[in-house]
């Protein structure tokens, strides 16, 4: 086996800048650079960027496709304030409708100003039924009613929107556990999917955020939003790896069609440039 020369300082520095700038974080950057040095020596045919892309892609957990025979399939959407939950639900519902299936959006955010108006407006725009209730209603009961309604209407999906919350708000985190349990009472096995929506501009707080949410409810998938900006969303690597959570979708705009199925290679290529 012929070893090539080691990677030059300039390229190493460039690689480090790319990785850090993407929000990959200090620790994972060190890990990737270590592998990069080794790969570079063994692999003189590939451009250094391709080597970097390969290493990053390997860090992502395998995305097995999700399907549910449950009818309705219940999806619960959670995340911190302003991450893009409500807009993601609108976009997901649009995609479901495009695929020829039926869906109900349930607004269990009974807390934030005009939250139900926001989801109701989306329902109106997209011609999708929405279940809301007045501000201050217990989110568990709205969740219960939304699932029951979807069952009555024999719909394929029901997606539950929840209020944004920071993991430091213990009371609100407990409330989330309660909403999760109530969903299971409304229908056995529900929710069949729990999407954690992550703002693509988030830094190193992504991992502790996800870890905290996982303590209260079993998150099953990740959605990363706002990747139409200049943020690269690199903080999801640590989170996806540590918690073995698949990244399901990414948000690339504010419109009803601006949600795409996550593709690891494309995501990583956008980081490396």
């Amino acid at each position: 086996l012929v070893f090539g020369e080691g990677v030059d300082e300039n390229t190493l520095e460039l690689a480090e800048e790319i990785l850090l700038a993407s929000d990959l974080g200090w620790e994972l950057t060190e890990l990737v650079l270590e592998r990069f040095r080794k790969e570079f020596k063994l692999n003189r045919d590939s451009s250094w960027k391709v080597i970097l892309v390969d290493i990053l892609e390997e860090l992502l957990p395998e995305n097995k496709s999700w399907s549910s025979d449950a009818k309705p399939a219940v999806t619960m959407v959670v995340g911190v304030n302003g991450a893009g939950k409500t807009t993601t639900i609108a976009r997901l519902s649009q995609a479901i409708t495009r695929d020829g299936h039926s869906v109900l959006m349930g607004c269990a955010d009974t807390y934030r100003a005009a939250a139900s108006e926001q989801l109701a407006l989306w329902g109106e725009r997209l011609g999708i039924p929405v279940h809301t209730s007045i501000e201050g209603t217990d989110p568990g009961s709205v969740t219960f009613d939304a699932i029951k309604k979807a069952q009555t209407l024999k719909l394929d999906h029901v997606i539950i929107d929840t209020a944004g919350r920071l993991p430091t708000q213990k009371g609100l985190m407990d409330e989330l556990s309660k909403v999760y349990r109530v969903a299971g009472k409304a229908m056995e096995g529900a929710p069949h999917r729990v999407l954690l929506v992550l703002d693509g501009t988030v830094g190193q707080n992504a991992l502790p955020q996800a870890q905290q949410f996982m303590k209260f409810i079993p998150v099953t998938d990740i959605v990363v939003t706002k990747l139409d900006g200049t943020a690269k969303g690199g903080s999801v690597f640590a989170m996806a790896r540590e918690l073995n959570l698949p990244i399901r979708y990414i948000g690339v705009g504010e419109g009803a069609d601006d949600l795409v199925v996550f593709d690891g290679r494309t995501f990583v290529e956008a980081i490396v440039g």
């Binding site: 911190v80 991450a83 893009g84 005009a114 430091t168 501009t201 830094g203 190193q204 200049t230």
Partner: protein, 293 residues
């Protein structure tokens, strides 16, 4: 904690002597790591570490502090100085109504800040505030601000039939003058600095508003991209300061240092909760402690 890690780095140094360049470079590696983990932009961290290295090299090792504690002290002082050791207030001078324009990325906390700021100014400076719903694109944005304005006890202006936010702004300021509101706070739609149409729209809103203060509302959870946002908004639109939101979470808030380092503008307020009372004035020394972890 950084102090503990530096303690490890320096455990061979006794209470005598001077901090040498090699002691410092090990310490600086730890400092750089702590800053990156706190979401300080990597270019800002690099420059910062160079400046601290200069300050720390040759310093007499004080008997009262361990060398690790001493370096932490220097780093802390440097961060406080960078963040603006005197917290800067709002500049509302000249003839009322004084206009404050809020701008920033989607979901950063502008609408909530508009109401919180009105509440704070009313309470602390006895101002009569009007909040203006100039976000005409987000579903139910007007409703959201209306509810929050009511909670804040501020007057509210909107025009549900108008399509141009600059026109809403112009009409609101005119009305505020007639109604003796001395502060007008304009909430705008979230936008990306790479969306040229929306940035051009913001320029027009600002031209009409002629604000005394333009505040970038920045999410406290932001990572490396905060510098791009700060630079681009400052270059394309121009602002006089920032509001750092969602700091009631456990994000280290390094975006504050990045923002200040690349724009030189002051952070004036910090969002610490969703209710109308959830806004306080920026405290540089508290922020420094948080960034250092």
């Amino acid at each position: 904690k950084l102090a503990d890690r530096l303690g490890q780095t320096f455990k061979n140094l006794s209470g005598k002597g001077v901090l040498s360049e090699s002691n410092i470079s090990d310490a600086m590696r730890e400092i750089r790591r702590a800053l990156l983990e706190a979401d300080v932009n990597f270019k800002v961290a690099k420059k910062f570490v160079a400046e601290v290295t200069e300050k720390a090299t040759g310093e007499r090792v004080l008997k009262s502090l361990s060398p690790g504690q001493q370096v932490v002290k220097i780093v802390n002082e440097q961060i406080v100085e960078l963040l603006g050791s005197n917290a800067e207030k709002l500049e509302l001078t000249g003839k009322p109504p004084h206009v404050i324009l809020l701008l920033g990325l989607q979901g950063s906390g502008k609408t909530t800040t508009a109401a919180r700021l009105a509440y704070l100014l009313q309470k602390k400076q006895n101002r009569r505030c009007m909040v203006v719903a100039a976000d005409l694109q987000r579903p139910a944005a007007i409703d959201q601000l209306e509810v929050m304005a009511k909670k804040a006890g501020a007057s509210f202006y909107c025009d549900r039939n108008e399509k141009d936010p600059a026109e809403v702004t112009r009409a609101a300021i005119h009305k505020a003058g007639l109604a003796y509101n001395d502060v007008v706070i304009v909430d705008t739609a979230g936008r990306l600095h790479v969306d040229s149409d929306l940035m051009e729209e913001l320029e027009r809103v600002k031209a009409v508003a002629k604000p005394d203060e333009s505040l970038l509302v920045l999410d406290g959870l932001s990572g490396q991209d905060a510098v791009n946002v700060a630079l681009e908004f400052n270059e394309q639109i121009g602002f006089s300061g920032a509001v750092l939101t969602k700091m009631d979470g456990d994000s280290r808030g390094g975006a504050a240092l990045s923002f200040r380092a690349v724009t030189g503008k002051p952070i004036k307020f910090v969002g610490i909760g969703e209710s109308v009372t959830g806004l306080e004035e920026f405290d540089p020394s508290r922020m420094a402690g948080r960034i250092l972890g």
